[in-house]
């Protein structure tokens, strides 16, 4: 009798303990994987989010940096982590689209569950303040008249800038010499130092040296509030839009409720006026898209990009 009571007691204890383990999600800290170095643009934006995360979630957000290979290492780490809702990460497009296509990266856009998009950074066409080019049309005219003489700076290869160049070169006559740089800072320095004549850069990065440059066109659908006078490429007669977007994802297979919870928190943060003000102060062009919309956009974009790459013979 004593034995049976003991065993029954043990049995109920075990049931209770596992019951405790199934407490409300999340019950331990959530890991955020950042695929770039500490202090970079992606990190800055994620840290701003972290500031407001504490308001809406009791568990802390713990940052883990896995930089390398232009973000590919970090994206791989996110895709390969356990889909238990306790690991999420920041991703960038078109990086996550292009890297599997061109760099044999071991992940793909289908290996993620999308939480939301937070940043939409359009590309701009910029020249030095004292440059002889006063409009995008002049640049294209000069390129046509002097093939290969114009030096165009891009971050890359296999980046959003590279794609914009390939698209323009395919749709219009644009014989220039593209020069690739490791990062936006090097690209800025090269333009200011005279090594290149014109560059396609991110709005966010160009803002750093705005006083020394002229922005001649912006590859977005609407005018940007930070540079309201700059015309869109569409208005200037060139049918191209090009953005670098940032968002947050979880590895594919996360429980539906947990994903909904994560999406809910990020939505609350993105709509918080204090967060919006902080993003403006840091010069980050924020634009919120919910998980499903982001997912749809990325898959559509992949088809676009594949077409451009095939035409440029970079993809078979």
């Amino acid at each position: 009798m004593k034995r049976i009571t003991q065993m029954l007691l043990a049995f109920f204890l075990v049931l209770n303990i596992s019951g405790v383990a199934r407490a409300e999600y999340p019950d331990s800290p959530i890991t955020m994987i950042i695929a770039f170095t500490a202090g970079g643009s992606s990190d800055v934006q994620a840290r701003i989010m972290q500031k407001y995360w504490g308001k809406y979630c009791k568990q802390p957000l713990v940052f883990v940096y896995k930089p390398g290979a232009g973000g590919a290492l970090g994206f791989t780490a996110i895709a390969m982590s356990k889909p238990d809702g306790y690991t999420i990460g920041g991703v960038n497009t078109p990086h996550i689209i292009l890297q599997p296509l061109l760099q044999r990266a071991p992940f793909s856009i289908d290996k993620f569950d999308y939480i939301c998009q937070v940043v939409n950074d359009p590309q701009v066409v910029a020249v030095r303040k004292d440059s002889k080019f006063k409009s995008v049309k002049e640049i294209f005219a000069y390129a046509k008249a002097n093939p290969k003489k114009l030096r165009l700076g891009l971050v890359g290869p296999n980046s959003g800038h590279h794609l914009m160049y390939l698209e323009l070169a395919d749709k219009y006559d644009f014989p220039v010499t593209p020069v690739f740089y490791k990062g936006a800072a090097d690209q800025n320095a090269a333009l200011l130092g005279g090594e290149i004549d014109v560059m396609f850069g991110n709005l966010n990065d160009v803002m750093r040296s705005l006083s020394e440059m002229h922005v001649l066109g912006i590859a977005s659908e609407k005018h940007d509030p930070t540079l309201p006078k700059v015309q869109t490429m569409h208005e200037l007669g060139f049918n191209v839009v090009s953005y670098i977007r940032r968002g947050f994802v979880a590895p594919k297979g996360v429980d539906k409720n947990k994903l909904a919870y994560l999406r809910g928190i990020f939505q609350k943060i993105a709509n918080d006026p204090a967060y919006i003000a902080d993003m403006k102060k840091a010069g980050q062009p924020g634009e919120y898209l919910d998980g499903e919309a982001f997912n749809k956009w990325i898959h559509a974009e992949e088809q676009n990009d594949k077409a451009i790459l095939k035409k440029a013979k970079l993809l078979k």
């Binding site: 170095t37 500490a38 202090g39 970079g40 643009s41 990190d43 800055v44 840290r47 701003i48 500031k51 883990v64 940096y65 896995k66 930089p67 390398g68 290979a69 232009g70 590919a72 290492l73 791989t76 061109l102 760099q103 044999r104 071991p106 290969k148 003489k149 114009l150 030096r151 890359g156 290869p157 296999n158 010499t177 593209p178 020069v179 690739f180 740089y181 490791k182 800072a185 090097d186 800025n188 320095a189 090269a190 200011l192 130092g193 005279g194 090594e195 803002m207 750093r208 040296s209 006083s211 020394e212 102060k281 840091a282 010069g283």
Partner: protein
């Protein structure tokens, strides 16, 4: 500028800022002294703490940690021949022999004073020459950077005067190792043999921790000693060192600091390269180059003043162009951007308060380093009284933890272990580990810039050589590189001539006598 000096100095004497400077210095020196923990890590760890402070105080603290860590690396470099940070690799060449001959306190005080003075000169450059130097740095594009890196590699020729071929081969081996990973120009993986994590390449810091720190642990253990070295503290060592530096080392100090400042300004090149190049150059121009490596003050002075001068240099492009001159400057830049401070040429006018307070805090930190460093050095010297076993265990632990903490990647830990073994056998095959380290660091930069030259050449009609000779700076650098390679031969011939002359005069005197 004048109107900012007053408020800047007032900010400096705020109690919070003084507290942050001292705490930052102390923390930085300790992090720097521990092998396996680097300056970048120390600064990056404290960045979140700055979010709660106002930008000026946060910047002051990060700057203090940076200075402390770069100096701190010399402590372990001298005491246990294990560079605490990669910037102190060249300090081991002369600091360790000094320690082994019982003069550890001389070594520690030399590096302290040299670091402080080097830091002063670097900050001086930042204060007065930021704008013109930044514009000068802008004129360094693909071809110029390419030849500058090749010139940096050419200083290897001086490193191993007895066997230049082996030195060059070690450098080339280092470059070959650096090709593992992603091709910088085509973005395609290379030499990864199907193991995807290798796509990040062989990270420089774990490789250096392995080559110099971990290999040294193996050597120490193999030496079967109970204690690392005998330590006979000399009274008044500090004043002796100070006097000797002021009389015999002025030129070395100035030249090394300038080299440090210039290398610091170039993006991607930091203390590791600066200290090795400064050491090599001091050796090249010294009257007794054979003494380098035996434990002379000049050796420690050249390395330590260069790596601290790098700080001032790295901050110049960071503040004026938003282009960090070193890895730590990149972290600090991120902290600034998160606070909404935009770098640019008007950082000295629109955010002049912040900029000038920061610069003056750097002067203050270099001054404060003398008392703080002096106290800590006395404590660190007690390390020599610990049993070797414990020290060795501690170094191994720190190397593993430190290298893993960089990228959260086990690959880095393997790199440390493998390069540790390579470094251990290095001396038996006369592999020059310093040259190899230079190759690993400079390899990617050389390739990237060569790629840019090739890209640019299509705008010039297709010949890369046209690109090379297009700018005056590149041509100058090419000439300097050639001279750098032949200088050892010329200098040794000159010395032989002097020696034969001396012999002849001695013989003549013999005859007369």
């Amino acid at each position: 500028m004048m109107e900012f000096i007053g408020p800047a100095l007032l900010h400096l004497i705020e109690p919070l800022n003084i507290f942050l400077m001292v705490v930052g210095l102390t923390g930085g020196i300790i992090v720097g002294a521990l092998p396996g923990l680097t300056a970048t890590m120390g600064v990056a760890l404290m960045v979140p703490a700055t979010f709660a402070m106002n930008p000026t105080s946060g910047l002051i603290m990060l700057g203090a940690i940076y200075v402390g860590a770069i100096y701190g690396g010399s402590n372990s470099a001298c005491l246990i021949c294990t560079p605490g940070t990669p910037s102190s690799v060249a300090t081991t060449f002369d600091g360790w022999p000094m320690c082994q001959s019982g003069r550890a306190d001389f070594a520690l005080y030399t590096s302290l004073i040299a670091s402080a003075l080097g830091g002063f000169i670097g900050t001086f450059g930042l204060l007065f020459l930021a704008a013109p130097l930044a514009r000068f740095a802008l004129s360094f594009g693909g071809p110029e950077n390419f030849w500058l890196c090749i010139f940096g590699l050419s200083t290897i020729a001086v490193m191993s005067t007895d066997n230049m071929v082996k030195g060059v081969l070690s450098g080339i081996l280092g470059i070959l190792i650096s090709t593992i990973g992603l091709d910088p120009n085509a973005g395609v993986p290379r030499f990864i043999f199907g193991y995807y994590p290798l796509v990040q390449g062989i990270e420089v810091i774990p490789a250096m921790i392995g080559l110099f720190s971990f290999s040294q642990v193996l050597v120490l253990i193999g030496s079967n000693r109970t204690y690392i070295a005998e330590f006979k503290p000399t009274k008044g060592a500090f004043t002796q060192v100070f006097k000797e530096m002021m009389t015999k080392c002025k030129v070395v100090l100035l030249r090394s600091s300038i080299i440090g400042g210039i290398v610091g300004m170039l993006p991607g090149a930091g203390g590791e390269i600066a200290s090795i190049i400064a050491y090599n150059e001091s050796k090249r121009w010294s009257k007794h180059p054979e003494k380098y490596g035996t434990g002379i003050i000049q050796g420690v002075v050249s390395s330590e003043s260069a790596n601290n001068a790098v700080i001032g240099g790295a901050l110049i492009p960071m503040l004026t162009l938003g282009i960090p001159g070193s890895a730590v400057a990149a972290v600090i830049l991120g902290a600034l951007l998160a606070k909404g401070i935009q770098p640019g040429f008007n950082v000295f006018s629109t955010t002049g308060d912040l900029a000038y307070t920061f610069i003056f805090s750097q002067f203050a930190v270099n001054l404060l380093m003398l008392p703080v460093g002096y106290l800590l050095a006395k404590i660190m010297a007690k390390l020599l009284s610990l049993r070797l076993t414990f020290v060795a265990i501690a170094i191994v632990m720190l190397s593993v933890i430190g290298s893993y903490a960089i990228n959260n990647s086990m690959l880095d830990v393997w790199v440390v272990l493998i390069f540790g073994v390579v470094g251990y056998f290095a001396s038996r095959v006369s592999l020059n580990t310093g040259a190899m380290a230079l190759g690993i660091i400079l390899g990617p930069m050389i390739e990237e810039n060569l790629g840019k030259c090739v890209n640019l050449s299509s705008a010039m009609g297709g010949s890369v050589f046209d690109v090379f000779v297009a700018s005056k700076i590149s041509v100058l650098l090419i000439i300097m590189t050639v001279l750098s390679f032949i200088s050892p031969f010329i200098l040794s011939r000159v010395k032989k001539k002097d020696a034969t002359c001396a012999c002849e005069t001695a013989q003549k005197e013999d005859h007369h006598a």
